[in-house]
């Protein structure tokens, strides 16, 4: 990675973090998602195709990471951007499974930094309340944006951008030391490949906990599962069928409700 690429990726890490200047809807919920992150890293590094190979399994793995206020909150963008960039930088000449394994490891490292920086910014934001109090007491409506956007963003930007630049440049420096694909022992890449494949179960399991409201609904999940294993449909085909069935189900329920009323 050259310096421009490092800065560009670090900037997107900031934009995709919780409460960045573009708002959580565009930032954390869109730019921060692994699928989108891989696309952007791919564009910056000039290899969208490989980046997407990494982005799809990363997205599945981190599917459950959705609430910025919850107990497991941390800057997902750190994990996703660093994971993809790390795999692209270190994974030259590796096959897809090994690339994914490598991405998982780098995402883990990035995620750890993200978790620390989120807690730091969360603490540093506290004194801003006093500034807001002061302007509020003066009744100065035109200054209310200062503690929230100006100072809030200075802290947010410093906490995300600077560590990201340091992390990404040290990764670049290390990667120039040699060809890592040949240096890593075979059993490590085998294990990383196995780990990457199994980690997809984490995202899916957490999503299931959001979607399963009643016990019998496990059958819907299993139906989707066997549509792939027995009927050999791809996920796109299942998504189309699922959408059509959901519309039918919606209309059916509405009809039942009308009957109840009548």
């Amino acid at each position: 990675m050259n310096m421009i690429q490092v800065i560009a990726i670090a900037f997107f890490i900031y934009l995709g973090s919780i409460g960045s200047i573009v708002g959580n809807t565009i930032g954390w919920y869109a730019l921060g998602r692994p699928l989108v992150a891989a696309f952007i890293v791919g564009l910056i590094m000039g290899d969208v195709q490989t980046a997407m190979i990494i982005g799809i399994p990363l997205q599945i793995m981190y599917m459950g990471n959705v609430t910025p206020g919850g107990a497991v909150a941390w800057d997902l963008s750190y994990a996703t951007y660093i994971g993809t960039a790390g795999a692209l930088v270190f994974g030259k000449n590796m096959d897809a499974t090994q690339l994914i394994g490598l991405a998982v490891v780098f995402a883990g490292i990035g995620g750890l930094v993200g978790q620390i920086m989120w807690n730091v910014s969360y603490a540093l934001n506290l004194p801003l309340n006093r500034i807001a109090d002061k302007y509020a007491r003066q009744g100065d409506t035109r200054k209310m944006y200062i503690p929230n956007v100006v100072y809030g963003q200075l802290i947010g930007f410093a906490c995300r951008f600077i560590p990201a630049v340091i992390l990404l440049s040290s990764m670049t420096a290390v990667s120039s030391q040699g060809d890592f694909a040949s240096m890593i022992p075979g059993w490590v890449t085998t294990m990383l490949g196995t780990f990457g494949g199994m980690m997809a179960a984490l995202g899916m399991g957490i999503i299931l906990s959001f979607l399963l409201k009643k016990k019998w609904q496990i059958c819907i999940f299993l139906l989707g599962f066997v549509m792939v294993t027995y009927l050999s449909l791809n996920t796109m085909a299942v998504a189309v069928i699922a959408t059509l069935l959901a519309v039918v189900y919606y209309v059916f329920q509405m009809g039942q409700k009308e009957e109840e009323k009548a």
């Binding site: 708002g23 809807t25 954390w28 919920y29 869109a30 998602r33 699928l35 989108v36 891989a38 696309f39 791919g42 997407m52 190979i53 982005g55 799809i56 459950g64 990471n65 959705v66 609430t67 206020g69 969360y122 506290l126 309340n129 807001a132 409506t141 503690p147 929230n148 956007v149 809030g152 947010g156 085998t190 294990m191 780990f195 199994m198 997809a200 179960a201 984490l202 899916m204 399991g205 957490i206 299931l208 906990s209 959001f210 979607l211 399963l212 409201k213 609904q217 819907i220 989707g224 599962f225 549509m227 294993t229 791809n234 796109m236 299942v238 998504a239 069935l245 189900y249 919606y250 409700k257």
Partner: protein, 289 residues
């Protein structure tokens, strides 16, 4: 003459909230400062004296938290109430208590319906597109999500804001009791579960690296065939139920996360250990060379 908020001020209040609700999130007032910034143009328009403005601002930078995208309905409701207050039809105490009362239900709807249902479903659809498309076009799925999610959310969030302003607290509670919400959630859940099932089958990979390889003596031809696979754990398990192990893994994670309240970090560690054990078995039995 009664005071009325202009469209321009309301828009300002909405956009302030939409973009900057989480800018200064912290443990003391959560999204309080963001809420205060959203209310600032409203207060500026409604109140004349410095003292009135100060009083109004102070009640809006206190603790406030919600799922901000769906929570814009709170901002709408509070805008309506501030307007009523400026016309002497409401009191600051009522505004503050309504605000606190709104935290619970709007967070619950926002988190469960929008964040935990719509996002995963939209992502799974975009993932299917990314995976189904040829390798050189798989970025279309990512781009689709990047465009569709923010636009969809912005439209919804804006609509909810104006809904809150126009119909107030009564309008919201009326809507919530119609039951339409449940039907929509049920249908969304159905769609999500089916796609998550398909994604699990396509992406979760886990095989048992164990097989027995032996030289076999063929009776008919009288030749010895070298290195024949007599037993392969995956082939056997797939014969019973294809992808049984990945399925059990997903259900296992679900059980430990939802029922046993394990943290994602702990689960990740367990998966890493399992992967290491499986790799070790593979090498010990000569599956990997």
């Amino acid at each position: 003459m009664s005071k009325k908020l202009s469209k321009k001020t309301l828009n300002k209040a909405f956009w302030n909230w939409f973009f900057w609700n989480g800018c200064s999130q912290q443990a003391e007032s959560m999204l309080g400062m963001g809420f205060g910034q959203s209310m600032a143009p409203v207060i500026e328009e409604l109140y004349d004296t410095k003292e009135e403005k100060a009083e109004a601002l102070e009640r809006h930078i206190t603790l406030f938290n919600t799922e901000a995208q769906v929570g814009s309905v709170c901002n709408g409701i509070v805008c309506g109430m501030e307007e009523a207050n400026a016309n002497g039809q409401c009191t600051p105490e009522v505004i503050s208590s309504v605000k606190v009362a709104l935290i619970g239900p709007t967070s619950a709807i926002g988190d469960s319906l929008w964040v935990a249902t719509i996002i995963p479903i939209l992502l799974t659809i975009c993932l299917s597109i990314a995976q189904g498309a040829s390798a050189s076009l798989s970025w279309t799925g990512a781009l689709l999500y990047l465009v569709v999610y923010p636009v969809l959310t912005c439209l919804l969030s804006r609509r909810l804001f104006y809904f809150g302003y126009k119909s107030g607290l009564e309008g919201m509670s009326k809507f919530m009791t119609t039951g339409k919400m449940d039907i929509l959630t049920n249908s969304m859940n159905f769609l999500g579960l089916l796609v998550v099932g398909a994604l699990s089958a396509s992406f979760v990979a886990c095989s048992i690296p164990f097989q027995i390889v032996k030289d076999v003596f063929d009776v008919e031809t009288g030749e010895t065939l070298a290195d024949q696979v007599i037993f392969n754990a995956d082939t056997m398990l797939d014969g019973i139920f294809p992808k049984l192990i990945p399925l059990l893994l997903v259900l296992g994670v679900y059980y430990l996360y939802a029922k046993k309240k394990w943290s994602p970090m702990k689960l990740m560690g367990v998966i890493l250990v399992l992967a290491a054990v499986l790799t070790a078995i593979g090498y010990l039995t000569g599956y990997y060379v």
